[in-house]
């Protein structure tokens, strides 16, 4: 048991609830084309779930639990994937970011062509970048003089 972070009660509750919050975030992202929410809201929820672990367990433990370089790569790759989907639109349908997949049935979970795909990409992008910002901010010590 590591000593850093908050008390045992907070850690136990966090261990149980973080999965539920992550599940809720994925739910919001996947239903973005049917209900309020979408990639932006769901991404912020995912980032808040990871942030919950960071606040409860401290930075060192979170750095062991999560693979931070992998998260950085996911963050950069999702920006690239957005562009790839856009160029696939040129190749398949003739214009940039064209909706080239089948539209499907209205109100079905697999519908609306590329919209759910782009929602997932944006969700990961927003989640990873916001979490990494807090991760970097948490790593600095604020005191006079230890500058540059």
């Amino acid at each position: 048991m590591n000593k850093t972070g908050m008390t045992l009660i907070v850690k136990t509750v966090t261990r149980i609830t973080v999965w539920m919050i992550l599940l809720y975030g994925f739910y919001i992202i996947l239903h973005g084309h049917l209900t309020p929410g979408g990639g932006f809201g769901g991404g912020v929820i995912l980032a808040l779930a990871l942030l919950n672990v960071l606040l409860a367990y401290g930075r060192d433990y979170t750095g062991k639990w999560l693979n931070i370089p992998l998260l950085e790569h996911v963050e950069s790759a999702s920006a690239l994937l957005f562009l790839v989907v856009g160029f696939l639109g040129i190749v398949v349908a003739g214009s940039f970011l064209a909706n080239f997949l089948s539209k499907g049935q209205l109100f079905a979970i697999l519908s609306a062509g590329t919209i759910p795909l782009l929602n997932i990409i944006i969700g990961f992008k927003v989640a990873m970048s916001l979490f990494l910002v807090v991760w970097v901010l948490a790593g600095i010590k604020m005191s006079k003089g230890d500058a540059v």
Partner: protein, 183 residues
């Protein structure tokens, strides 16, 4: 009750909250007051029939509160001594803002009245959005289909902001990379 009454109430509440936030001495209290203002914005979005925005604004508020508290709380050396230039600045600021407010009143008379928007472009999105994109959430269809290029720009701006944070804070983060987490 008409929606204006609720909006005037929340807007007055938010103006009061932001003045309190700017004038308080204690920095934790002013950050919390800003949180209250943001939740007022979230409530106004609900009154204005924008549930997407209410969710995102609510989460934004929590996130900004955590960032600000995490970064700025616990600095004992946070106090500014009063000086005469400070008072002059305050007076000049209030005067400039008041003049700007009075000068701008005629502009607001030219806008379409509240509750009757000009929906030249959006009427097409409302009528044909569901059949053209297949999404039930028309906001999602505007973001990711009709105006996906805007969203690409947004992703780029977010990427640039995150790169900026990394570039600014990297040298200190490198010293503390005991977890081996930074390149």
């Amino acid at each position: 009750m008409p929606v204006e009454t609720w909006l005037i109430f929340t807007l007055g509440f938010m103006i009061f909250g932001s003045i309190v936030a700017l004038e308080l001495k204690d920095i934790l209290s002013s950050i919390i007051a800003i949180g209250v203002v943001g939740l007022g914005v979230s409530m106004s979005f609900l009154f204005l029939q924008a549930p997407d925005l209410a969710i995102v604004q609510f989460l934004f508020e929590i996130f900004a509160l955590i960032i600000l508290v995490r970064a700025f709380i616990g600095k004992e050396n946070h106090q500014l001594e009063a000086s005469p230039t400070n008072r002059i600045l305050t007076v000049i600021g209030i005067l400039a803002v008041l003049v700007l407010f009075i000068v701008s009143i005629p502009v607001f008379k030219l806008l379409p009245p509240f509750g009757e928007p000009l929906m030249n472009v959006s009427q097409h999105y409302l009528d044909a959005g569901a059949t053209e994109t297949g999404a039930a959430n028309l906001v999602a269809s505007v973001i990711l289909d009709y105006r996906a290029y805007d969203t690409l720009g947004e992703v780029t701006v977010l990427f640039a902001a995150i790169l900026g944070v990394f570039a600014i804070l990297r040298s200190t983060a490198k010293h503390k990379a005991a977890g081996g987490s930074h390149e």
